[in-house]
Point group: C2
Chain length 414, copies 2
């Protein structure tokens, strides 16, 4: 289908999707959850074709693993849909209600964003996940997945569309862009008349390209150069496990710690133990001169190291004289995702919480908690690193906007 046709159809469907009742949306999600399991064979066959093409192209084992589906993974997708169906309906909420002296009654209510565009890379399970979150919050969705997963994505989308039709719902509540060329992707980013919001999910390169080329409002997600600052008043029994957890529990994710900041007062006490613990986990430590002097495990860092999201067994170390200097360093180098201070000093903690300009700022806890599930949202479409609309983990509420309903009895403006 032509891109324009697809956009028009999904836009037309958004008005209907927005009017579905909570029950209609939840029932459809449950029905589609079953439908995916029943259609496993179709999905697996399409996926096998994707895998065959990818292997021929010489795709790396790690990427092949992300692309590969199994009965178990399809059951996981299905379970995800069922869980989303059980979450509270974000559209049921009245945000505010008030009356003006002239008698006008105002009601601020949640509404869906409309058509959400999602551009993502090769994991085909995103197709079902993203649909579930967008649909649950009353939105229609246009998906543009990676070319490597196109057959899998098509099979999953077809099953979802069939499931919607079986529930009496317009199947154009979901559309998949089948063309996989870059020109189509660029054209898609210009469809401001049809798409209300664009959310890119994937590599830093993908996100940059969307930010630079889109005329549709974008929610920037993902990049995390997260810091842990170990203060002069840190408790080492908290500092060591938190740092090790934040750096090594999972390497390739955005809430992983990439940079350690230490107060100079602890460089010869706690820091050597931190360095030893990192070393035991095979983390290479790149630090400034003070850090190098304090531990033989530290090699020299360059300016570039401090700005890097390694996603690897690497960490940078910066020494500071005060919490203020730590805050300034973070505000300069961070991606405004998640940062933590380890301290028993409440005043230093409050300074850090207020001064650090990031979505999530922690005292004595791991940055790995920045996650929609860990926050209790029950879902997550991504983690926003921009200031506009939503910041930090985005659940169902973050996929909504609002409108004002205003009740009068003949009021005119004087």
């Amino acid at each position: 289908m032509e891109l324009k046709d697809l956009c028009e159809r999904v836009k037309a469907a958004k008005y209907k999707t927005a009017q579905l009742s909570t029950e209609e949306r939840n029932n459809a999600l449950k029905h589609i959850a079953e439908k995916l399991v029943k259609g496993s064979e179709r999905i697996l066959k399409a996926n096998a074709d994707d895998i065959a093409v990818a292997e021929e192209k010489g795709m790396s084992p790690a990427l092949l693993d992300r692309l590969r589906l199994s009965t178990q993974r399809i059951e996981g997708m299905s379970e995800g849909l069922r869980q989303v169906s059980e979450l509270p309906d974000p559209l049921a909420e009245v945000l505010e209600e008030w009356e003006r002296p002239n008698g006008l009654k105002l009601k601020k209510v949640r509404v869906p964003l409309g058509v959400i565009g999602i551009i993502y890379e090769s994991r085909p399970n995103v197709t079902a996940d993203a649909f579930a979150l967008c649909f649950k919050s009353g939105n229609a969705v246009i998906l543009k997945g990676g070319s490597d997963a196109i057959r899998s994505n098509t099979a999953i989308t077809e099953l979802i569309r069939e499931g919607l039709t079986e529930c009496g719902i317009d199947p154009d509540a979901i559309g998949l862009i089948e063309a996989t060329d870059r020109e189509t992707t660029k054209l898609f980013m210009q469809q401001r008349d049809y798409v209300d919001v664009l959310i890119p999910r994937g590599s830093a390169g993908l996100i940059r390209s969307v930010v630079e080329n889109s005329t549709i409002p974008v929610i920037e997600t993902g990049a995390g150069n997260c810091h842990i600052y170990v203060d002069a008043a840190a408790d080492e029994e908290k500092a060591i496990p938190i740092l090790i957890n934040a750096k090594t529990q999972r390497l390739g994710v955005c809430n992983t710690c990439e940079s350690l900041i230490i107060h100079e007062d602890i460089k010869d006490s706690i820091f050597p133990k931190l360095a030893q613990a990192l070393h035991e986990k095979k983390v290479e430590i790149r630090g400034d001169e003070e850090a190098q002097a304090a531990s033989s495990l530290v090699v020299a860092a360059t300016e570039e190291d401090f700005a890097k999201e390694y996603l690897d067994l690497l960490i940078s170390v910066k020494t500071v004289k005060s919490v203020e200097e730590a805050i300034a360093h973070i505000n300069r180098y961070s991606t405004h995702h998640s940062e933590a201070i380890i301290t028993e000093d409440k005043e230093a903690a409050e300074k850090f919480l207020s001064g650090v300009d990031s979505a999530c700022v922690y005292v004595n806890a791991s940055t790995r908690f920045t996650d929609g599930f860990e926050f209790g949202f029950g879902a997550e479409i991504g983690i926003s690193t921009q200031m506009l609309h939503a910041r930090g983990p985005m659940g169902l509420r973050e996929l909504t906007s609002y409108k004002y309903k205003i009740y009068g009895n003949g009021q005119v403006r004087g």
Copy 2:
């Protein structure tokens, strides 16, 4: 000053502005309010130079009037600053607070957006107004005004900067781009590393250019093709005054009614009276065939008329068979700003309120109420017509984002 330098300085100042107390911000606003009045002579001299250049260029009397300042207009600007200083501080609000089963305590608090870029046209009083709202909400601001007002804007900005310095505040909380060429404006829209949000204020052409060229997140404001739907169950004693108010009270503003939709059942009863009332106000009526047949005051409308924001003594008329058809027509042609239904039928009213995809939807009241002051926000930076971040009138709260402060005692992720 080079654009890059200016952006760097304002970005550095944003961290300090965000940390100012409520009192520091309010006192500075009051001080600057006085400062502008005391500096009237300097502003008026600069403004006289702008006027002289504009007259030489042959600027129209209407635009010259927008550009011209007077002692009284400066007092108005000053009074505006004083009023903003008295509004509640949006940053004082804790939005949510909860605890997770693992003992993590989360606090969602308001924070400034950071650096707000405002691109506007020739009214120099916007310089002081926009500064006041951004600064009150803890933001730093970079202003790019029209070239015609550059001398006036420079004088006003200088006085604000002096006032900030006298209050012990970094004057780079405000920056004015002095270059007036288009290249600089385009370059400014690409400064995503420095500017957090861009708000264009002005003509549809200006806004389109910003949307198309900016890599900074934009809040689209302004365009209003607002509809009034007179239902089968309308009370004519409400319908006539509301329509006349919405169409004629002020012609050149975005919440003015541009299109009338009538239910076919009232085309020979209420509609001729509406047409007569519009005619008496010198409004030209362009309607579909049914409307033309119902009143000799109606001339033929083209498809284009229905999509137009006239900002003039013109209105389009569309006849429909049902509230559903009215909703579909609005969702197709409106700019999603403000629409109203006139009806005594509660069911039709609720259908309209839910089904119309606009920021502000009214029952039995004029669309002219879409305004930050009329809503009780005490201020307004613009009216958003997009779904992301803020919708409808934007006051101080809409100039903020949020962050999560998370308190732990050693938690790590399992």
